[in-house]
């Protein structure tokens, strides 16, 4: 535990502010550099760190104060942190590097972190100091309101924003007679447009809350005893009040910083590493800090700041804070509300609106230049995170514009029975169909383990960690249980924990620098880990091979087991073998050899696959090479991120409806494309007429024969998200089918991110981009097709050309764990 000699040498970190931002930064610091600092925290409130966001549920009686404590006192002790609670820092001496609190406590620092938060704005009206007038900000305010609610009757809340409405709802739940006074024409005008604001108001009115909109408070009127008795408005009208709650906004607490001579402008001015611009020894995070002119009042940005600040304190020097995109959700049980971006619309933007006032659902999406720039949702918010993602990515949505309103989850998600409102689900109901996680299990984990982010929930419960289609539901649960999803909202996503670079940046750098080895990428892009992880190594290996074919060398140790053993691992550690059957056609001779192998190696299960071939399941790893050799058919690559099958219908050779020889077309495509590695698996199908018996409509490339030629469809998917392929082009000859299909797949191979299926790739870059490259530019198409042929030329069949395929045969033999090597050594 504590090493005294070490302790003396440690630099001192003093944190002013024991709230969510400051303590989060300390937690991040302890996670990456646990013993680096001797830490002291000052907190003005007499409590350990608690979840301020959940004060509203406490006020409403849905949670208790104990439940919202984030770091109990024992945590501070365990971490060796000195905590001065109930001790407000009033002075910083930057020359001597000490801080002093109002109770006389002093502490010297080497680095100082200011996380002083914000205070409620008190309206400068006569009577603001009367008894019975309180602000809504901390535990003391909440307790005062709970106490007041037990003996007083009439409450007036000044402010119809997030905080004011949550306060009003809480007081109403506690039995008070509540009116909300708001100066603007509708509620939450900074988060909602008028229509959504109106729906919200109606919903709250049904709960018995009254509203006075467009009302400007002029004075608070006293009774004879110095208590508030009424609120008076401009124009002279009044309403009676026993309790007045000020919730008209907040302002950053910057007096301490100002007194110490730090630059303050809307907050304590900090740079991208959260250091104050005046004194690099002093950092500021949270609501008191102003980064690029913005002081954030939401929790997600504060957590992002805490993370960057921690890496800088730990001398990592890698993180930079670039500001946050923010979204809003209201925490009033039973009301779903979400907004993000520029949702007001107007000007040169276009609105798509869906309004069902009777059903209490309203959705507005705002587009500009074919991009989603804002969203405002009321009543059904399950797609909020998807819209937020589209806004942040700024991607072109022209091709999905007609589907946008119906949301990501309404395009055929499976696995959670079409639920879209988490609050209405029973505790036992399954949220994540992949990993069998119930609503109750997720809520328990969030509460018991103190989870805050989607990532945390995925790690602890696996919910939404596989296919991700229930992400919206999990985010709703986070909102109800923890008070919000505090996931970082970067505009681009890092590839994995080993780096801050995105997939695209890694791809680009490999091309620009002509890197050929994983180690070069690691060195050139400052990888944090010495040899990557199981997530980034396979991706980089693929990027190298697809960018520099015939130059970069495959690294089998950076491939998943299936691609290293050239067979599919099964749950019991055995493997499956799927030989290639060109276009789904086979012969008596092939079937005989397969039957022989089944007998000889006692293979327990033989199954016909959906891709028109035969799967031999339960093969022991040591038998694999012998089974391949016995069958004598090419590898089917059923185990690889590569071309799988080309499914075909019978076609014009036999079928009385067939217009084209689809089987031959399928065989030609498969022979041209096999051994093609790709970002993810690739499946093709060819049908001989529009009856489409080969189900070409849900394939990565689907080809449909018509009397006058062939139609080519791309980016279909039959998996988690059933997605119908989109029409790319119609051509006349089989040669054109080969060239167009091949060129499309090469484009995907060159531009797709690892583990991105064609459906996701095309939805990211837009179908127009693909059409432009494949249909509009014949020379470019030809070049793509030639590059693919160059890549595939001479590629080995891994089941037979072991050396060329860099197949390590030692993996098939076990070593002996008893004395046989004795003599040899």
């Amino acid at each position: 535990m504590k090493n005294d000699a070490h302790e003396l040498a440690r630099p001192r970190l003093v944190v002013v502010g024991n709230g969510m931002a400051g303590v989060r930064a300390v937690e991040e610091l302890l996670a990456i550099a646990p013993q680096m600092y001797d830490i002291t925290i000052f907190g003005a409130e007499p409590h350990p760190n608690y979840n301020r966001i959940l004060l509203s549920p406490v006020l409403a009686g849905e949670q208790t104060l104990e439940q919202i404590i984030l770091n109990p006192l024992s945590w501070y002790a365990q971490q060796g942190i000195t905590l001065h609670k109930g001790s407000k820092v009033v002075q910083i001496d930057r020359a001597k590097r000490t801080v002093r609190a109002d109770d006389g406590t002093e502490a010297a620092y080497d680095r100082l972190l200011l996380a002083t938060g914000s205070s409620p704005l008190i309206l400068p009206v006569p009577g603001k100091e009367l008894k019975g007038v309180i602000a809504y900000r901390d535990i003391a305010d909440t307790e005062a309101m709970i106490e007041a609610a037990s003996r007083l009757r009439r409450a007036v809340v000044i402010g119809g924003g997030l905080l004011g409405l949550e306060a009003a709802n809480g007081l109403k739940q506690r039995g008070m007679d509540v009116s909300v006074v708001h100066i603007m024409p509708w509620l939450m005008e900074r988060q909602l447009d008028q229509a959504a604001g109106r729906l919200l108001q109606e919903s709250l009115e049904r709960r018995g809350i009254r509203f006075l909109l467009g009302a400007q408070t002029q004075a608070l009127v006293p009774d004879g005893d110095g208590r508030v008795a009424a609120v008076q408005f401009q124009g002279g009208s009044t309403i009676a009040a026993d309790l007045v709650v000020m919730a008209a906004g907040i302002r950053p607490n910057t007096e301490l910083a100002e007194k110490a001579g730090l630059l303050v402008n809307r907050g304590i001015v900090v740079n991208d590493t959260l250091q104050t611009v005046t004194d690099p020894r002093i950092y500021a995070v949270g609501e008191c800090a102003a980064h690029r002119g913005i002081a954030y009042g939401l929790v997600a940005p504060l957590f992002e700041q805490g993370k960057v600040c921690a890496t800088h304190l730990a001398h990592f020097g890698i993180g930079r804070y670039g500001g946050s995109a923010t979204s809003t959700k209201l925490k009033v049980t039973g009301i779903d509300l979400f907004s993000a971006g520029t949702f007001m619309g107007g000007g040169d933007s276009e609105d798509i609106v869906m309004s069902d006032p009777y059903g209490g659902v309203y959705k507005k999406l705002v587009l500009k230049d074919d991009k989603l720039i804002g969203a405002c949702l009321y009543g059904d918010t399950v797609d909020g995170s998807w819209y937020f993602k589209l806004i942040r990515e700024g991607r072109n949505v022209a091709d999905i514009r007609d589907k946008l309103m119906f949301g990501e989850s309404n395009i055929g998600d499976v696995g959670h029975e079409g639920h879209n409102r988490a609050a209405a689900m029973a505790d036992a109901a399954e949220v994540c169909g992949c990993n069998g996680v119930s609503k109750g299990a997720i809520c328990r984990a969030i509460k018991d383990k103190g989870l805050f982010t989607l990532d945390d929930v995925r790690k602890h419960t696996k919910a939404s960690a596989s296919c991700g289609s229930c992400t919206g539901l999990v985010e709703q649960l986070l909102m109800f249980t923890a008070g919000g999803d505090y996931s970082a909202a970067p505009t681009r996503k890092a590839m994995c924990g080993c780096t801050d670079h995105s997939h695209q940046e890694v791809r680009d750098a490999i091309r620009t620098h002509h890197w050929l080895a994983i180690a070069e990428v690691h060195a050139g892009m400052n990888w944090r880990s010495s040899n990557g992880c199981s997530s980034c190594r396979p991706a980089i290996n693929y990027y190298l091979l697809s960018t520099w074919p015939k130059e970069a060398q495959d690294d089998p140790q950076s491939r998943f087991v299936n691609e290293r053993s050239h067979a599919n691992i099964q749950k019991d550690g055995s493997y499956s073998v799927v030989p290639r059957m060109w276009g789904g056609e086979t012969t008596a001779d092939e079937l005989r050899r397969i039957a022989n192998a089944v007998d000889k190696f006692k293979i327990p299960t033989v199954k016909v696959t959906g891709g028109q071939r035969i799967d031999l399941l339960g093969v022991k790893k040591e038998d694999l090479p012998a089974v391949w050799s016995e069958i004598g058919m090419p590898s089917g690559h059923a185990y690889a991120k590569a071309l799988r099958t080309v499914k075909t219908c019978v076609g014009s050779q036999w079928c009385r409806f067939g217009t084209q020889d689809s089987t031959q077309m399928g065989k030609d495509l498969e022979r041209a494309l096999w051994r093609m590695y790709a970002p993810h698996k690739v499946k093709l199908a060819v049908s001989g007429c529009p009856r489409n018996c080969a189900e070409a409509g849900i394939k990565d490339v689907g080809v449909i024969g018509v009397d006058s030629g062939w139609e080519i469809y791309v980016a279909g998917n039959g998996g988690i998200k059933t997605e119908v392929a989109q029409f790319l082009v119609k051509v006349k000859t089989p040669e054109e089918v080969l060239e167009c299909s091949g060129a499309f797949l090469q484009l995907y191979r060159e531009e797709g991110w690892y583990l991105e299926r064609t459906v996701h790739y095309v939805s990211r870059v837009g179908l127009d981009h693909v059409k432009h490259k494949i249909v509009d530019e014949p020379a470019g198409r030809k070049a793509l097709w030639e590059r693919l042929q160059f890549s595939l030329d001479g590629e080995p069949d891994p089941w037979f050309e072991f050396e060329k395929a860099r197949l390590d045969l030692r993996q098939f033999q076990a070593l002996a764990g008893h004395r046989i090597l004795e003599a040899a050594t």
Partner: protein, 116 residues
């Protein structure tokens, strides 16, 4: 005192890879080699669902199970938090390029963890 048995040479294990060692009884033992040529041995069963750790991707001093991507520490056998579980760990000695395991441990360790 250890009763060391030579099982292979260091070069028989691929760098950032693994080999399996068969025992007279019980599940196999996985031998891992890191980039720095350290060798670690764990029972070849993931504490999660019994996946063969020897078939996973090795990085740093960790291996990712091929079945569900649990990350297991090669040094301790412990699953990376928040997952919970532990794979039995075997002593390894590398001397003059020869990799050795302890005969006593091979007979007794991780036997009961066998997954049918």
């Amino acid at each position: 005192m250890n009763d060391w048995i030579a099982v292979c040479q260091l070069k028989d294990i691929p760098t950032l890879g693994a080999r399996r060692v068969q025992r007279e009884q019980g599940p196999e033992v996985a031998l891992f080699r890191t980039e720095e040529d350290e060798v670690f041995a764990l029972v070849d069963r993931c504490p999660h669902k019994g996946g063969p750790l020897s078939q996973g991707i090795v990085f740093g001093r960790q291996v990712a199970c091929p079945l569900h991507n649990w990350v297991i520490s090669l040094e301790s056998g412990l699953a990376r938090a928040p997952d919970e579980g532990c794979a039995a760990r075997f002593a390894v000695k590398v001397d003059g390029g020869i990799v050795m395991l302890d005969a006593q441990e091979l007979r007794t360790l991780g036997i009961e963890r066998a997954v049918a």
